[in-house]
Amino acid sequence: MADRRTIYLDNSATTQVHPEVKEAIQPYLSEKYGNPSSIYHKGREAKEAVEDARKKVAALIGADPEEIIFTCSGTEGNNMALKGIAFANKDRGKHIITTKIEHKSILNTAKWLEMQGFEVTYLNVDENGTIDIEHLKKAIRPDTILVSVMFANNEIGTIQPIEKIRDILKDKSIYFHTDAVQAAGKIDLDVKELGIDLLTLSGHKMHATKGIGALYIRKGTKIEPILHGGGQERSLRSGTENVPEIVGIGKAAEIAKKDLEKNRILLKNLEKRLKEDIFREIPELILNGHPEKRLPGNLNISFKYIEGESVVLMLDEKGICVSTGSACTSNSLKPSYVLTAMKKDPVFMHGSIRFSIGAFNTEEDIDAITKTLPEIIKSLRAISPLYNKD
């Protein structure tokens, strides 16, 4: 396994750490070990590094540095956005709106809040995975305190109509949160322009490390912490700061901003190549997700009559990494709840594969897939009882 070249096309699951990020982290793994809360030079040095990173993350999304707090993951950011707003605003209302295709860190948090006495509406999506805007309009109630709609979906890449949501929520005292874990660094986005009150980021989806994230909280937002303690991050998020990884996400944000347009073109081109290759070489496919309004680099395809895990493992034998839907659900037997919400034919839901291209992919990677995949699909279809029936 060691010397086999890996072709990694699962960048929506996690990404390679950018070499410059790795580099930036190093001093904080050795001589710059101070605790940012300490007042002596070693502490101040760490504090400055954290504040510098905060500026860079803020710049990526058009926020002010004081509006960024660092978390340990996208999951924590999503938990905090929902629970923090819910608990702090429960006097005003106990109704929350989200969608059926959010990441589990939203859905399971919403379910937990339901058990604590909150009410949650889960918005429907159409066959492309776009939320039903009319459903949103109807769902809003006087006691609605929060709308949480993901920026782009992790499985199918569909980008949601954030501007439309902004327009609907305008003049309403309802907070608007978006899980931008997949979108950030790939799509040019500005929280002020888009009327976003809270936005979740995750480092390891944008070439920083696993274990770091950020939550944008617009100034004046009424929110409670979910981690109580020493009062770090302006008392919003306690715990000694993960200085090395904070420095890392700062660097990653800086690079993402600088390379955004370059990477968008690269990803779009590779995606187009991969899509054209696959559709040319392999019959009986379904493209899942929105045909245009999709994350650059994301391609989710159902291979009819076969099951996704088999494809993933066969590709793995050739050193190619892709996934069925999201990494988190890869141990689950149920068909993707995202595709289910899109009312896809259950027979074909099981055969969906997500290719997610990243900034480190090349045309050779795409070609390797084009060379390998048709044979695999053929062999699996050959032993499929469903295929014969056609």
Partner: protein, 123 residues
């Protein structure tokens, strides 16, 4: 996650396909669950002379299908009917807990094929 044996049977499944003039056919599973299996058998002197499978499903489903055909081949119908899901998963050096149900499918499929043969013989 999967044992070497599972991976071997998944990558090189034995006895795949369909017997054209099968004596017994067993179909189990449903597409919503994501596992469907079809076993066809040829019987001679109350023994499984030939056996083939087709499976739509995960690696575990394919491997258990493959394994059960290996175990069953040459066995008497009585013996074959006794092959349990435990036998299959043991022969594969175990399955991840979440995939245990797959071995169910295989033994069920085989039993259905044998039942089908018995039914047809009666007619």
């Amino acid at each position: 996650m999967y044992s070497k044996k599972v991976m071997d049977h998944f990558k090189n499944p034995r006895n795949t396909g369909e017997i054209e003039d099968a004596d017994g056919i067993g179909e189990v599973g449903n597409p919503i669950c994501g596992d469907i299996m079809k076993i066809t058998i040829k019987v001679k002197d109350d023994r499984i002379e030939d056996i083939k499978f087709k499976t739509f499903g995960c690696a575990a489903a394919i491997a258990t299908s493959s394994m059960i055909t290996e175990i069953a081949k040459g066995k008497t119908l009585e013996e074959a009917k006794e092959i349990s899901k435990k036998d299959v998963s043991c022969a594969l050096d175990g399955l991840p807990p979440i995939k245990e149900h797959c071995s169910n499918l295989a033994s069920e499929g085989l039993r259905k094929a044998i039942d089908d043969y018995m039914m047809k013989k009666k007619d």
